[in-house]
């Protein structure tokens, strides 16, 4: 069963300083729209190659991305800095909308885009687990049910009633990953956050992601620069280059039926 379907997804970004000139662009865009014409600035933007200086002020962070992900699959997304990986994850996590194209998904999505996401520094670990759980769409009751599991997996029992501003960055990411991994989402989106944790915890996370995908049938999207981790964990891999899907570099290991 297909759980994620990405069709002709494109995302345009404005680069450079935002200034009064954009008020003119906004008005021009609006004028084109009431005349029923296309957005004039979609035509002039550049391919996103950060090494070449361009002048149009607009770039395609993603252009014409198409792919599908099956249930229970672990999809690795690789590419150099600025290739569009994080933009793709942001669109999939509904942080920002695409410029054109669609994404369709089945089930609930939980994403972990950065260390400490949704953590309030003044609140304790315990309060933050509830906060983050509810931010990820859980009811308080559900968080309560999984609370012990979450704390145990993160291994922060001793600090659970300490404000998280006193946590080390490793402890932060342990707790953050643990909450995301234990909630009842169907799709998990994990950006390069595990790099902060120590080897033992990274391995633990990789094992956890493997088990949630094979045993619980969750779909995982995973960004990493560590090719060993990608090979170890992912059932298929897509490569992004300057915002486009690198078709010569799609690796697909057929899954054993779930």
């Amino acid at each position: 069963m297909i759980t994620i379907k990405v069709e002709q997804l494109s995302k345009q970004y404005m680069i450079g300083e935002q200034s009064t000139g954009f008020l003119f662009h906004d008005m021009n865009r609006w004028w084109h729209r009431i005349q029923g014409k296309d957005d004039p600035y979609l035509k002039i933007s550049d391919l996103n190659d950060r090494t070449i200086r361009k002048t149009s002020g607009y770039v395609w962070a993603l252009r014409d991305i198409n792919f599908e992900v099956n249930q229970g699959e672990v999809l690795g997304i690789v590419g150099s800095n600025g290739a569009g990986k994080s933009t793709l994850l942001k669109i999939l996590s509904r942080i920002t909308a695409p410029t054109s194209g669609t994404v369709k998904m089945k089930g609930r999505v939980a994403s972990l885009l950065e260390v400490g996401t949704g953590f309030h520094p003044e609140l304790t670990g315990r309060e933050n687990i509830f906060m983050k759980g509810t931010i990820l769409g859980m009811r308080t009751q559900e968080v309560k049910r999984h609370f012990d599991e979450i704390v145990e997996f993160a291994g922060v029992q001793k600090y659970i009633d300490t404000p998280v501003k006193k946590y080390s960055s490793g402890m932060y990411v342990r707790l953050a990953f643990s909450v995301a991994a234990h909630i009842s989402a169907d799709i998990l989106i994990i950006d390069e956050v595990l790099a902060v944790g120590d080897n033992e915890f990274q391995q633990k996370c990789i094992d956890k992601m493997k088990s949630v995908s094979t045993e619980q049938g969750k779909t995982v999207l995973f960004v990493s620069h560590n090719m060993k981790t990608i090979q170890d964990l992912c059932s298929s891999v897509i490569t992004l280059r300057n915002g486009e899907l690198d078709r010569s570099n799609i690796y697909y290991k057929p899954l054993i039926a779930v």
Binding site: D38, A97, T102, V103, K104, K106, L113, L123
Partner: protein, 305 residues
């Protein structure tokens, strides 16, 4: 050539996107992400499913406010009391402005409470996207949770301040002041609801504009101060004798609401059906415009803040 292809495909896609909102189209997708969302889809159902998060935000704001303060929640009472004292001295004793026959202290206290309520909702909501960028850029949840939480938080503080009116009310009653409050007290929830919804709607309209044009934050700062003087807070609207000036003051949708509030809580106020209807209509239109703008802005707000 490739660029042209994308442009045509994006306009093709618009047709496809609208088609795929039909649940029978292809598979039952739970989430469909596209470049825009339907104009009148305010996701109230989704917001309801996030009610636990709403409760957490309200509690967090309330708790975080008193961290590292000595007097804690008492500040909610000290602030209106001190302002009342100053208003009493300046506007009643020095400027000798009428208070509609009400004891000046009660008149100012109710006005300040009412105004604080409005301005805390309005200014709180007007900066939603910029203030929460750290959170909005990392996780998804229906963004409308934030202004709603803000309004409910302000409502709670307003409730506490409203209790402050009681001892003064009793004091003046014992001293022989005859308050003519009867059934009019039933209008109090109406006034409060209108006050909060006007504040919320204007706030979310401003918040959507602030995303792109940061000038708005500066405008809001002094506009709320000036707006207070355009609203009968330190003077009763019955005192305005110039016909043209009255027109401008009545144009402020808050005028009738404040008078309604004063009439409901203290029994004196210039309430007219036409004025109240005008404020109500303003509220409905602002709310719809605000929801549409907010809904659209939230899609790409994180690229701009």
């Amino acid at each position: 050539m490739a660029l042209e292809k994308i442009i045509t495909s994006s306009s093709d896609l618009k047709k496809n996107t609208t088609a795929s909102f039909d649940p029978g189209a292809e598979g039952n997708w739970d989430i469909v992400i596209g470049p825009t969302n339907p104009l009148f889809n305010f996701q109230f159902k989704e917001i309801w499913s996030y009610r636990d998060l709403l409760r957490m935000f309200i509690r967090r704001d309330f708790a975080a406010q008193y961290k590292q303060t000595i007097l804690g929640p008492l500040w909610h009472l000290i602030q209106p009391l001190l302002t009342t004292l100053f208003f009493y001295v300046v506007f009643s004793r020095i400027a000798k402005i009428s208070t509609d026959g009400l004891p000046p202290v009660l008149f100012y206290l109710s006005g300040i409470t009412c105004w604080n309520f409005f301005s805390s909702i309005f200014t709180g909501c007007s900066n939603i996207f910029v203030q929460n960028a750290w959170l909005f850029s990392k996780v998804y949840f229906p963004r409308l949770i934030m202004p709603i939480g803000n309004a409910i938080g302000a409502l709670l503080r307003f409730g506490i301040q409203l209790l402050l009116l009681l001892p003064f009310f009793m004091y003046y009653s014992f001293n022989g002041y005859d308050f003519s409050i009867g059934w009019s007290i039933l209008l109090l929830p109406v006034a409060i609801l209108m006050m909060s919804l006007i504040g919320l709607s204007m706030g979310i309209i401003i918040s959507s504009l602030t995303v792109k044009y940061r000038d708005m934050t500066i405008i809001v700062g002094f506009a709320t101060q000036l707006l207070m003087f355009a609203t009968p807070i330190v003077y009763p609207s019955s005192m305005i004798d110039s016909e043209s000036l009255r027109f401008w003051i009545m144009l402020n949708p808050l005028t009738s609401v404040v008078e309604l509030f004063r009439f409901a809580s203290l029994g004196v106020g210039t309430v007219s059906i036409a004025g109240t209807m005008y404020s109500f209509a303003f509220m409905v239109i602002a709310l719809i415009v605000g929801l549409i703008l907010f809904n659209r802005t939230q899609l790409t707000a994180q690229d701009k803040v």
